[in-house]
Structures are given as C-alpha cells and as structure tokens.
Symmetry: C2
Subunit: 657 residues, 2 copies
C-alpha cells in the first residue's frame, strides 16, 4: 500500500474468488484505482483438513496434524507471492475454534497456523479474521489468536467486527445497539493484552450507529472501515452517495485515518471476464471509491487547534516544571500565538479597569497593574491595550524570573512600552514591591488548572496586592472524567515501570473516549485573604491541599484506562477560559488536556458508578497528585478498584523551588 | 516480644491509662505473665492539635503545622523509651481522616505522622490503628496510612478490625455477618497494594462468626486476635473458660499463630494502686491468659500431613520436571514413607489380580505386571505383596530410567526380589518389551494429575500392554477452584516479573481461602486405544490436549488471587487416590495442591459467577498450561477478566525429553 493519506480497498464476495480469477481481481483493483484488494487465502477445498468422518489414525490426517503436509495447490486461492503486497487475505470461514467437537477445535487451530504461516511467507499486505456468530463464545478463538499473532511478523492483522450486532439491531432500545460486538471484542482484547498487534476492521451496515456507539470505537485500534456498496444511495446524476447520517459517521472516522474497504454483493464483470481491449473503456475509477475520496478531500478544514495539534495527537508529554525550568523562546512563541487566550485576558483587564472607581478626591487616576510571570510580555501588551480601550491611566510592572525572557522584555520596554511599564527581574514570591497593586495579572495555569503551581506563586505575589485588589485570574477549577484509551495506556505500559503509571501527561487527545462528562473536583480562588495574613508570605502550604471523590455514572460499558483532566478559569466576572470539552473556549489552543493513567485498566459496566478519588498534596519542597479509581454497581457494591497511585509523590511531583 | 510460640497481651480500657500509671501497667503485665501490654501513645490532651475554634493564623497552630512544635509532655502517655519493646501503642481515636472539615482531616493526618514518628523513635513493639465507624468512608484514611507506613520502619502496624460488624449483627441473615468489615479492610488493602506491611488485629465479640465468615480472614494477614474478658464464661471451679463455639473459633485461628490480646472493661486494681508488698500475693498469672495457653497446649496433635508439612506451608515450590531431571534419593525416601498411597496401590493390584481370569486351558497362571517408573521399587513391593495376598503367580518387570535409582533396584533384586522380578534400565517410552503386560502399574501423577506428563509416558508404555490389559491408575481428573491468598500472591509479586505469574507452584496451603468448592476440569484414561494404534507409539500428542471452562458461584465476596488445583485418581474400580479437599485420601501426604497465580487479582462479589478457562497444550517438545479468569454478575454481565496467562508456554512448560 502506498503512503497515500487515504487507503481504499475492494472486497468482492469471497465465494466468487478462485485461484483462476484472483489475478483478474488484482488487475480490476488497479484499473479502478483501489489501493488494495481483499481475497480469501484458501479455497473451500481446504475445509478437507477437518477430515470429516475420517479415522484419527488415517495417514493423511496424521501427517497434516504433524505439520508434515504442505498445502495442496487446490487448497489455495493465493498460490504465489505475485502482487501479494496489494492483497489483504481473509481466513477460511469454516474454521470453528469453539466448536463442541475437540477435533474441529484442534483442526481449526492448526489450519489458522498454517494460514498465518503462508500469509507471512507470501508477504500479504494484511490478514483479516472472521467474526464468529454472536451465539458462540470466543474463549478458544481468543487463546488461539493470542498465541499465533507473533507468526505474522510484519503482516498486519485485522479482526472483522460489526459496529453493531445484527441480532441487537431489532432491539427496541437503540442505545444498546453495538454493545454486544464491542463487549466481545473487548473480552478478546483483554485476553490478548493491550499491547497486542491485533487491529479492528469495523463493518458498518445500513443501520446507522448512534454517536454513543461510535465514540467507544474511537478508543480502539480501528484500522479499517468496511462499507458495503449496498448502503450507498444514488443521487440525481446517477452517482453513488451516502446518506447524511452515513456521511457523518464516515467523516467522524476519517479523523482516525483508517483504511476503507468497499464490498459488493456480486462480482464485477471485469473480474469474471478476461481483460480485453474493450475492458479499457470501462477502466474508470470506482465511483464509490471516488465518493469516499471526495468526502476525505472535503473534510472540514482542520481548525486552528487541529493544525496546531498535528504531530501532538495522543503523544504523551511531561507537564511543565515552571519553577524548576525556564521556558524556551520557542515555547513562548508558540503560546503567544493563541488567538483567544490573550483576547480574553485583554477583555478581563478592560472590565476590571472599568470597574475600578475613578478617584473623586482629586488624586490622580492611576491603576497599578502588576503582571507576574510576564514572560516575553504578551500580558503587558494586553494590559496596555485594555487601558487604552477603557480610557484609564495605568502604571504597569512586569515581573519575570527567567533571565532569557527578561532580555526580550528589556527590548520591549526600550522600543515599545517606555515609561508606562517598569520591568523587574525577580521571582514574584520574593520580590519586594515598591508599591501595592490594584490588579495582579498572571498566566500560570496548567492543563489541570493548578498543576503548574499557580496557587503557590500567586500566594507569594498577593502580599503586594491592595486589600481590595483584583487577581486575574480570579479562580480556576480542575475537572476530571473517566476515560478509555487503549493507545495511551499501551504507550504508558511500554515504559515497563510503575513510575510512568504514576505520572500525569499533557496529551492532545485523539483515540480516546470519555465514559462520562467531566465534573469539577476542586477550585482555587485569588486573592486568598483567609489563609494568608495580609501583606505576608503564607505560613505553610497546607491551605493548598485539595481532595475530592467524584462519582460518575457510566452511560455505556467501557474500559477505564485513566482519568482525563481539564480546567475552567474565571479571569474576571464572566470572562472565562476553558479547556473542559463541554465549555471549551472556541479556537484556544494553549492547553491540551492532562491524562492520569491507572496501572490496571478497569472494566466499567453500563450504568456502573465510577468514583474518582483525587488528592493535591504538598510538603515543603513539592506538590503532587495521588489518585485511585473505584467502580461499583447498584445492588452488588464495589466491583473493582485500583491501588493508590503516586503515594507520597514517589513517582512524580512539581518542585516548589 | 519473645520467641514464645504464643504471644498474649493485655489491653486495659484506653481512657484509664495515663503517663502516671503506664509503668504500673507494664509491671502488671509482667507480673501476670503477659508477653506485652497495649497502651495509648497519647493522652486526651493531644486532641488540642485540632485547634478547635482557633484562627488558622494562630502562631501555635502554624508552628505545629510546620512541624516546628514537638509533643508537650502532657500530650503523651508514653513519654520515654522505657520498656517500649513490651508495649503496643494505640493511636488517638479523636483523629478523623475523612471528616467533612478539611482542617480536621489535615490535622488528623499531621497527628498520625507525629505519632508514627514517635512510635518509631520509642521503638514500640507495635502500633494499633483504630477502626472508624462503619458510617465513615476510608478514602482519606487509606491514603494517609498508605503514605505513612514506611515511617514505622521495623515497628509492626495492626489495623483493628471487628470480625463482624456491629450494625450487621442485628441483621436477620446470619450469612451476611462480617461482610462489611472485610469489605472495608479489603478496600483499604487494595488501596495500599498487596505488598503493604499493614496487618490486622481482629476483634472477636460475643457473637460467634460462622465458618464462612472466618474462612475469609484466613487468607488475610491476621497478626493478632482481640478477645474481651467479658466473653469468657465461668466454669464450676470459678475459672474463666470460653464457650464451645468460641473455643472452636480460637483453635481455628491458632493454626495461623496470631498474638492474642485480652481486653477488660475495667482497670485491674494492681494498675490503679502503687505496687506494694501486699500486691505480690496477687501476682498470679492471668487466668484468662492461662486458659488461652491451655487451649494452645491442647490443640489436636498435628496430623501426619501437618507434621510432614512443617516448613512447607505457603512455600512456593516449582513442580517436578520428571522427564528432564532425575529425582534425588531423599525425594524418593520422603515419598516412599506415605502411609496411604502404597496401601491403595497394593489394594488396587490385588483387586486387579483377583479379577484376572484363571486360565482354564491348562496354561500356567502367571500374570505379567510391569511397573513403569519403578524408582527405588516401592510399587514392585506392592505388586509382590498383592500377588501373595491374592494367591496369584506374577512375573514383575521393573522399568526405570534414572541410573541412580536403578542402583537401588539392582540391590533389591539381588537381596529381596530374586527371579520374580526382571529389572530394566530404560525410558518406558522407548523400551522394547520381550512380552506384553497384563497390568501396567505407574506412579507418575503430579498435583494436577497430568502435570508431570503421566499421559505422555503411559501413551508410550501402553504399546507393551495386552489388548485387555489394565492400567493402574485407570484414570485421573484435574480439579480447579478459585482461591484467595494474599500471601501467595504477594510472594509471587515479589519476583517482579511476568514469568512468575505465569508459572504454577506446588504449595502446602495455609493462609488461603477457597471462594467455591473444587470442580473437575478434565480427565485422562488409560489405556487409550482410541487415539493410539495398538502396539504402536502415538502418532502425535494432540490427543492429550485438554481444555475446560468451568463456572463457579462465589458464596462470599473475596479477592481472587489465583486458582487452586488438585487431582482425583481411580487406581482400579473403587480404589482411589485424592487430594481434592472434599474427598482427600485421609493421611496421604505425597502431594500438595498446585497454585496457578493470576497477575491482577480480581474482586469477586457475593454470588458472582467465576469462570476459569484452562488449557493443557502441547507441541513436539513440551506440554504447558494456559489460563485466565473471568467474573460476571447476573444482570450486569462480565465485570472483570484477566489476560491469558502463559501464552504458548512462554513462561513455564514441562519438557517432553
């Protein structure tokens, strides 16, 4: 398969493909501009290896069982390694791994191994495995697969799964559709372990799944989408198109860049016949594939966040350690480009300025604004613009501890700001301010609100805030939600140590699914005159301890691989910043969510209660989070729980100095 | 505490012990021959550190929070390190870790840390933690404990837990008693992780728990049993005794060697008063402690199995690899001492001989017995004795592959057996027998029946068995049961790798609890004329593949730490060997059960279905087991499952050569 951004394959009815016409199928696929074709590996003749009715001592059976008998030519559809990189092979469907008959089980297993071996030998583009009828258990199938995947080496392996189970489609409750097939896949995947190379070929049918059913698949390794040509409609010009609802589903999946496989219920004439010169007239690209390509081309242009996020999706980043490390220039530059964040800050400062009473006692109208953690100066610019808009006089202080950023600030003062701005090279917590501020402006928030130590920094800065002074931001609230993400959990597992399971990561989420909507867990407000004596440093950091036990009801069943964290912040009155998906500030890209993994994923049944226990803890040197997850079911009680993660900050913490 | 086999401590009412009389308590304990006493660490005065009503900026509060204020003398009952090895300290009970008041939570945590620090400094014999009212969550308590245990270094830590919850004792359903307190302990332990050093001080009350409730505690780290003097009765001679049912409970626990702690509701006069010469008259050992010591002395003499098992209890042994390694002489010697096993073999051979028709055609009445895997000869002796008893002539062959054991056999033949026995140095699978056998006798069974490759060995040996010949054993069946054992799981975890979780162990079970009674999973029968051509070697080993998915209903909730495996074998007709606890051959000690661990323990709710999936698999070089566990609840579906263990025998297998 080429590196084309969208891969489209063609799968004819398996029973129509033979060793004689498979080369026609390849030519047809190429003529019609498909990226690959799907063909059975074996002919129906291969079902002979069930040896029906034969004695278990028959020489042929014995030889085959002992691996001493190769495929006969008539067993195979794919007989040579010719163009096999263009072919995805499917397994025989008479194989029955969970048959009550021990011989059928054994022979199915031996046949699978022979087929995998052959697929690897041929170098097939991929192998696709059949989905057994939902009345059958997957116990032995799962065991056989788990033990055989390594035989495929570089050949990818797709398990064909219906997005919704046929038997359930008749069900009255639409919400339940698609449960069964996901549950079966999940059971198989849990058996194989989350690091397994097994992917999914998801079969969409005429019935359109609800978003709830779809969401869950997004957290799974969906490598291909199977679409029957039969579900296409014909538009007024005679071209095949999808219904609005199918378009919606296909477009949603396109974000995850699966291959598409188009199936037809009859074999195209060009595959049946020999190719002749006449055939060339028919050699136009498949209109169905063209339509999928059209949908792909005309996807909504990625928003500014998506553009920014390219390359970051599902990539685990360690959160910043802003008090220990100095940011690099490029980091400042990236964040300064956020089109929304500084607009909101400017608005917040403007509103705050307008709310400050104009002195009536004849004193000069000057509002003192201190920007603490000024970086390269964007909030100073915001403050000056806001003052201009509000028509108020300001005296701005820009306080910054990073010597590199301070170089830029010095240039800004010399070339742009002049006397309106006083620049100060200091940690805000230790600065001896020459006067007190009316407004304290800062941008110290992390993805979880307080995780870059905004509370501790502002506690130190508020001693130079007037008693009626304003902090922008005024508050921030951390949000949590239980989430599924096979990929992120596998990536953390790959480190093979406990410490990485006890660390939080900043991640642009992609292949994830929330099991419930985020809920607030704790809030910090500034200034904090209750815990910190006016004009003094905080007496200890105990007032910045937080804890919360938040209960969620899972709307669907799913695997819990960790906790998604977000924040909402009130900058000033109704001027907000939010990365909570429910209230996300449109277009703001400065923060990705945060991911708290759990070491052992928990299965969450539909309607179960998920309890997230979170702590923000502190000692004199550092701040850290601890967390654990519990799941309970009404009438049963607690059914599972994780250990406490990151006890005493043993694996991850944010340094106070 | 000394190394005495039973440790008995005394715990007076905590509110009666002060810094002034604690030395009296120590002297009282010593006079009354207790091994330790239990005393509060702190006086009620220490509750001042909640700083009720005080401003959070009060200097005293601030200093204490910052760890800058030591205990005041009046805070402490235990003020010096005098005799502290004789004292177990209890924590203040005003501490409330899950209070809705953040200050109470914080101050309780800081107080616990100050107390742990002090306990470690004093070198207390132990620390006992209070059990919070069952209306309170244990979320923050668990977090605080988990994070603080390491402060105690060598001081042991016991969490006081009632065996049955008070509120549930009033419940109509007696079966449910004791659920709640175990559930709460389990939730706390799961939070702390199974490697935690936290032990249990289990409080028995007047109500006697059912065996079902007790059983579950046996799989937990119960380090002490707390018995109130109030639950003792007075016998006709005026001495304190326990009721029959309490005796039963206490004796059951004694097997696990916990300490005992006797509590009284009033302070003995000797502790209240200064010691005087008069006091010496009263200095007789406590009659309550004496009674417990009496129960300890008069425990049933350990049976032959227990005697044999000393030192093996809960010790993980790798199963034998009989085809790869030769047994050592001492191993033979140990197993030959089994009083039951060879008695059963002798009986089986005798019955089989009696069932053989006496030739009526004038041919001589000689039955050919072949002992395959003769070892040092015990089954040869059994066969000869059986022949004498049955009054039948026999010709015995003793086939052995171990050159060291063969030396012994040679001596046996020279000195004892003479012409009745032909000895053969060979692997039974490759021996060319000079004639065919009437009876094939072997002792190749492992703890799981087939796990020492009895099926493969006998398959090879049956080619020299007559068509109507008999195999002793005739069959063997593997049994499995879901089990809890905190200790065994922690011991496997300690290896810190996957391979040890994917290995089975032969273990003399002690601190374990079965979640349901064992069930049969598969059977092997000999001879096997169906799969193996008469007089030939087996064509492959596929016929020795087995699999089973066995469902259990858990009678109580519990943690599943793995699977217990046993076997039952029919030697001949109704002559059996069994290590299945339900049918265990009385007095037979040759086999301990087998333990299949699971990597991630599963919580099993009461009434849940546990499904054990097991496979016995084979390739040309080896035999291995794969397993996984699933748990489901009616109306909810599958709630948890483990990964497939030992895929392809990657971690453990039994070599065929």
């Amino acid at each position: 398969m080429s590196m084309d951004p969208i891969q489209i394959g063609y799968m004819p009815p398996a029973d129509k493909i033979t060793a004689d016409n498979v080369i026609n199928l390849v030519m047809y696929g190429q003529t019609k501009a498909y990226d690959f074709v799907v063909s059975p590996i074996n002919s129906p003749n291969y079902s002979r290896v069930l040896f029906p009715g034969e004695s278990s001592q028959s020489p042929a059976l014995v030889a085959w069982r002992a691996g001493q008998e190769a495929f006969k030519p008539e067993d195979l559809v794919l007989r040579t390694a010719d163009r096999t990189d263009y072919i995805v092979g499917t397994l025989s469907d008479w194989q029955d791994f969970d048959s009550p008959d021990a011989r059928v089980r054994l022979h199915s297993e031996l046949a699978l191994k022979q087929q995998f071996n052959w697929a690897a030998h041929l170098g097939l583009g991929g192998v696709m495995l059949p989905y057994p009828p939902s009345t059958q258990p997957l116990t032995n199938y799962g065991r056989v697969l788990t033990g055989s995947l390594s035989m495929l080496a570089y050949t990818s392996c797709w398990f064909k799964v219906p997005c919704m189970d046929e038997i359930l489609e008749a069900d009255v409750s639409e919400d339940l559709q698609g449960m069964e097939s996901w549950e079966r896949w999940n059971s198989l995947r849990n058996m194989a372990g989350s690091e397994s190379k097994l992917g999914i070929a998801l079969e969409l049918s005429g019935a359109v799944p609800s978003d709830q059913v779809l969401d869950r698949w997004f957290a799974e390794p969906v490598k291909a989408i199977i679409l029957s040509e039969d579900i296409f409609l014909t538009n007024s010009k005679g071209y095949p198109v999808l219904s609005k609802r199918h378009q919606h589903v296909v477009r949603k999946f396109m974000k995850y860049k699966p291959a598409f496989i188009l199936t037809s219920s009859s074999l195209p004439k060009l595959v049946l016949d020999e190719f002749s010169d006449d055939s060339l007239e028919q050699s136009l690209a498949s209109p169905h594939a063209d339509y999928i390509r059209y949908l792909h081309r005309t996807q909504e242009a990625p928003g500014v966040i998506d553009q920014f996020a390219t390359g970051y999706q599902d990539y685990l980043q360690a959160p910043l350690q802003p008090l220990q490390d100095n940011l690099e220039s490029s980091t400042y530059e990236t964040f300064e480009k956020d089109p929304i964040k500084y607009q909101q800050y400017e608005l917040a400062v403007e509103r705050a300025l307008l709310d400050r009473p104009v002195p009536t006692d004849g004193k000069p109208d000057v509002t003192v604004i201190m920007v603490v953690g000024a970086g390269r100066g964007p909030l100073v610019n915001c403050s000056l613009r806001a003052a201009d808009k509000a028509g108020r006089n300001v005296r701005v202080y820009a306080v910054e501890k990073n010597p590199n950023a301070f170089v830029t600030i010095q240039n800004m003062k010399a070339n742009l700001w002049g006397d309106r701005v006083t620049i100060v090279f200091s940690d805000m917590r230790t600065w001896k301010a020459p006067e007190k501020a009316d407004i304290l402006v800062s941008e110290l928030l992390g993805s979880f609100g307080d995780n870059e130590l905004s509370p501790e920094c502002l506690d130190g800065a508020q001693k130079f805030l007037k008693p009626d002074g304003i902090s922008i931001p005024a508050d921030y609230t951390a949000f949590v939600a239980p989430m599924a993400s096979n990929k992120l959990h596998a990536d953390v597992s790959a480190f093979k140590d406990l410490a990485h399971f006890e660390t939080s990561y900043v991640v642009m989420f992609k292949a994830i699914s929330l099991l419930a909507q985020p809920k607030p867990i704790w809030t910090f407000e500034h200034p904090n005159w209750t815990d910190i004596p006016m004009g003094q440093d905080p007496l200890s950091n105990h007032h910045n301890i937080r804890s919360g036990s938040i209960e969620f009801t899972s709307e669907t069943s799913g695997m819990l691989h960790g906790v998604a964290g977000y924040f909402e912040s009130v900058l000033y009155k109704d001027v907000m910043l939010s990365i909570n998906p429910v209230t996300h500030s449109p277009g703001m890209f400065s923060w990705f969510p945060i991911y708290f993994p759990v070491k052992t994923p928990l299965y969450i049944p539909t309607g179960a209660k998920v309890m997230l226990d979170f702590w923000r803890l502190t000692d004199v040197r550092k701040v850290w989070y601890e967390w654990r997850v519990r799941c309970s079911v009404d009438g049963v009680g607690e059914i599972s729980s994780t250990a406490l993660h990151n006890v005493g900050g043993r694996s991850s913490s944010i340094g106070l100095y």
